[in-house]
């Protein structure tokens, strides 16, 4: 099972950027429905959150199920950052037409935008240090400590989504629940141990991770 996935990393980047390219293409073709700007903006934000959560899934996946996708973790994290950057660009350029005073007011006054911005600001140093040279320069311990900030970014991103909506529709709640679950398995290692034992009893003889 562990040997099964040997997709080149480059393919992950390329495939990961397809939704952005496709959505933008649909927008140019006037195929994004009545509110194309909003749809594009939302789609980019959603993919950012999805990649962020996928990134957080890698480590529990290995520990619980023995599926090792570690070699793709950096790609997923960077994709989350690229989508956040595209999402922010769509917000600045298309949604607000570079109306900087309005954008500034929005960021300062609207908690959900402030929180989204905070998530983005956190992702910047993480993206900037997602390369081997940076890991060497920082040293593994400092690098790992810095990258713990990804949990904060995930919490902020999920909160950002929850704060946008009217009433309580399912989608942001599901993403918030997924975020909470991925953080819980880290905060409470016993959850992981139980999960692994359960997995082992189902798949006897599975090699240890």
């Amino acid at each position: 099972m562990r040997a099964a996935l040997r997709i080149p990393k480059l393919a992950v980047y390329v495939a990961g950027l397809v939704p952005a390219a496709w959505t933008f293409y649909l927008g140019l073709q006037d195929q994004l429905g009545p509110e194309p700007i909003k749809t594009l903006e939302q789609e980019l934000g959603l993919w950012s959150l999805r990649f962020l959560l996928l990134c957080l899934l890698i480590s529990p996946l290995r520990r619980v199920a023995g599926v090792d996708l570690f070699r793709y973790r950096r790609a997923l994290g960077l994709l989350a950052f690229y989508y956040a950057a595209l999402h922010l660009s769509a917000y600045v350029a298309l949604d607000h037409g570079f109306d900087w005073p309005a954008i500034g007011r929005d960021i300062l006054k609207r908690p959900y935008v402030t929180i989204g911005m905070a998530a983005f600001v956190i992702l910047v140093p993480l993206a900037a240090t997602s390369n081997n040279a940076a890991i060497r320069r920082l040293g593994a311990t400092a690098w790992a400590r810095l990258h713990k900030l990804v949990y904060v970014a995930a919490i902020l991103a999920a909160a950002h989504f929850l704060l946008i909506v009217k009433s309580w529709p399912a989608e942001p709640l599901l993403y918030a629940a997924a975020t909470a679950a991925l953080l819980a398995v880290r905060a409470f290692p016993s959850v992981l141990r139980h999960a692994r034992r359960a997995a082992e009893s189902v798949i006897p003889g599975r090699p240890q991770a």
Partner: protein, 324 residues
């Protein structure tokens, strides 16, 4: 109970002062009037058929209250709706609302009126002349449309019930029918049902306030609130309660659904106001649906959605930050 007072005449006269001058050419010519009677008969007949919703053409006279701005494409008006009885996404009503049966449709008018009654929709509408009103519609979420509604002035209908002097507000209620409204059942229900709305009596009697039975020349599509909905063009769209089954005249300010759901964010008045932001987003600008694709610009939101000349006097001296 006290007998009804002749409540309407002074009120109506007061309101006429706010309305724009009606050009002589706007007065309906006799031939058109007669034709309209035929179509009205058609309206009644079409509504009398029980069964699935079928868009039926409606004839209506043009109204001087109409804006001449370009109309939002019909496909967008029918595809992009907030109607939480059918789900929380904008596309849900168009996808799900076909299950709603609107024939027969009964509307109860009760409360502080001399003549409470249950009406069949056709009996409620048929005595009145249908008008086409092309109105701006501003959603509280920051988008807007221009929609050619067909309907009758709410004041005309209320008049028939003869409101008592004690009536100060009008309360409206939407159908509750979970078998046909998927948003009204299941785990995650977005609002308490029935959806309820309300207006001050003077707002309800204002000539801009209509009960719509159609749009774009046809009976209302289900997703737009068939068969009968409220349209109050100077208020945020959610005040325009859909699929109305009850209209009650009451003495105290009625509860309204979004205000119940989140009183900090949605007030009873909910007049369009670019200077009073929603707690979570600015109301200073809006995006007009169907305008310019990916590179469209926002446009400034107008006070009372551009109807300030007609309605600002209703709110003279009121603190609009407080009564949002």
């Amino acid at each position: 109970m006290r007998a009804s007072r002749s409540f309407f005449l002074p009120e109506a006269q007061m309101l006429i002062r706010h309305s724009p001058d009606i050009a002589p050419s706007e007065i309906t010519p006799r031939s058109l009037y007669l034709r309209r009677r035929e179509f009205l008969a058609g309206f009644g007949a079409s509504l009398a058929f029980a069964g699935a919703a079928q868009a039926t053409p409606l004839a209506a006279t043009r109204s001087p209250f109409s804006t001449s701005e370009p109309k939002t494409p019909r496909t967008d008006v029918l595809a992009y709706n907030n109607f939480y009885e059918f789900g929380g996404r904008k596309s849900d009503p168009a996808d799900n609302a076909h299950t709603l049966t609107t024939k027969p449709w009964k509307v109860r008018i009760d409360g502080l009126v001399a003549k409470p009654a249950d009406f069949l929709l056709e009996d409620l509408i048929e005595p009145h002349a249908l008008e086409e009103r092309v109105y701006r519609m501003r959603c509280v979420e920051g988008w807007s449309m221009v929609i050619p509604w067909i309907g009758v002035q709410l004041s005309e209908i209320l008049k028939r019930a003869e409101p008592l002097g004690s009536a100060k507000y009008v309360a409206f209620e939407t159908l509750v029918r979970p078998e046909e409204m998927p948003g009204q059942k299941g785990l995650l229900q977005l609002l308490p049902w029935p959806y309820v709305e309300g207006l001050r009596l003077d707002e309800a009697l204002h000539p801009l306030t209509i009960l719509a039975v159609g749009l774009y020349g046809e009976t209302l599509p289900n997703q737009n609130g068939a068969p009968l909905r409220l349209v109050v063009p100077w208020k945020y769209g959610f005040k325009g309660i859909k699929s109305i089954v009850r209209i009650s005249l009451v003495e105290t300010q009625p509860k309204t659904s979004w205000n119940i759901q989140n009183p900090r964010e949605y007030g009873f008045y909910s007049n369009v106001n670019p200077n009073v932001d929603h707690p979570r987003w600015s109301q200073a600008t809006e995006r007009r649906i169907g305008e310019g694709g990916l590179f469209a610009k926002r446009r400034p939101t107008l006070m009372y959605n551009g109807y300030a000349d007609q309605v600002a006097s209703l709110y003279g001296g009121m603190d609009l930050e407080r009564y949002f």
